[in-house]
Symmetry: C2
Subunit: 275 residues, 2 copies
């Protein structure tokens, strides 16, 4: 499987991807799922991919040369000459449809669904940063201040911490930390998501970045996050009071038990029991 997350903040963009691919649990491989398109001073874009690897690799390959030809009078649009990230996302969507036209019938004949999920974000000189999620049909949605991040692949285990932490005002390195915690939770619960991890942090209006890192399990920062998060979660859990059972019955009936409704207890907090 795969887990990728892209986050759009006022301060910049954060992208993180794992690199484990599997065709069944007996066939696990390492493939990088992040690609960076950069022309210094002009544009900076990152693509993260989940889904069928043959599709996402084709999309990445073709995206560099794909052109959107809408109007025979004007030049075709590519990701390298697009004047907005919206147009660049349209080129990406078109690339997905191009691969669909080429491969979908043959995949269907083999019983394989045409499945690809992409996160595409960045900044082109002249406008602000933008972040998109592109679907198998080539359609796409854009992140907003209310929902400033996208996930593709195995998203559930890593979603709660993003929901608790990320807002547009979150600092870049704090968001990078949050993405790594989110990835760590995912890797703990789903063996088909695995290292090394690719992390890119982009600062707004720079049109390039030098904060690109490949993180393996020996990375001291990742090791600290992994160990401390687990230990401290356990400490938080232990710090919550256990429930106390109270003899006062509540009025809400449980399901009939052996034909009869049984009176219920209440659970309360310890100090309330003492009152």
């Amino acid at each position: 499987m795969t887990y990728c997350v892209g986050i759009k903040l006022n301060a910049g963009l954060v992208f993180l991807s794992d690199s484990r691919t599997n065709a069944g649990v007996d066939n696990i491989s390492t493939f990088r799922k992040m690609i960076v398109y950069e022309r210094r001073g002009d544009r900076f874009m990152v693509l993260l991919s989940a889904g069928n690897l043959s599709i996402s690799q084709s999309v990445r390959e073709l995206l560099q040369v794909e052109a959107l030809r809408e109007d025979p009078e004007s030049d075709p649009i590519t990701i390298w000459n697009a004047t907005s990230m919206f147009d660049a996302a349209r080129v990406l969507g078109e690339t997905v449809r191009h691969v669909y036209d080429r491969d979908a019938d043959a995949l269907k004949n083999a019983g394989v669904e045409f499945n690809v999920n992409l996160i595409f974000g960045g900044q082109i000189r002249g406008e602000g940063m933008r972040l998109f999620q592109v679907y198998s049909a080539g359609n796409f949605i854009e992140a907003t201040p209310e929902t400033p991040y996208f996930q593709v692949g195995e998203y559930k285990y890593g979603k709660p911490v993003l929901d608790r932490v990320i807002t547009p005002d979150t600092a870049l390195d704090e968001a990078a930390k949050c993405a790594l915690v989110s990835m760590d939770s995912t890797m703990k619960s789903n063996l088909s998501v695995g290292p090394p991890l690719d992390l890119v942090v982009y600062e707004a209006n720079r049109f390039e970045t030098d904060r690109i890192v490949c993180i393996d399990m020996h990375n001291p920062y990742y090791r600290m996050v992994h160990t401390s998060w687990g230990q401290k979660l356990r400490e938080v859990f232990d710090s919550l009071e256990d429930p106390v059972w109270d003899d006062a019955h509540t009025d809400i009936p449980l399901m009939p038990i052996d034909g009869n409704t049984k009176p219920l207890k209440k659970i309360t907090r310890p100090e309330e029991k003492l009152i």
Copy 2:
């Protein structure tokens, strides 16, 4: 959707279920998903159900009267005369198949999958406690010390805390707390899992329980768990150091960037940066 969890500990059993059912987000209802079968001093059993509500309601109704007739010479086995939880689970599996025989074809014609997932646990005098997960085909698996819990329904959001906390030695009320934290994480991330919650705690070798409670969102204990867990998770997150970017390059190449491989940075912990 649904979320139910059953936990088997040395000290007893814990069962927790939500009560939200939906047929699309525009059709949400409340149905209890827990039923207790108890004959004091003789047997205590709990059934939790997820999946198609018409199937699980039929299973619950028929389970009280279903009989396994294997040998025409001997009396049929029911959950009320079974001498082991294994036999009681076989009766439950047979009940699922009974409903399958009755409904599956008609459901298939309507494009509905025959989908039911059950957790069934308890104790019958003469043997220890046992906990089973029963599938749509009526087959089942049993919990072991290595995997002392089962979940059905929306299991992913609530799984990490169970994995971190639950072992066979966990105390009963601590496991109840853990189940409630697990449920709280699930309700936070999936709107189709919702209150009220049914919680049963069974102490080993009692063959009855008085720790049965229906918890709504006004319950002071649940409110404390909900609020404190969220606040303290955030405090733990804030207590982890942010990454620090180091100019030392690593050797692992990222994907080619605009045709060239870009040198990578390292991220380190703050104190290592200072060295």
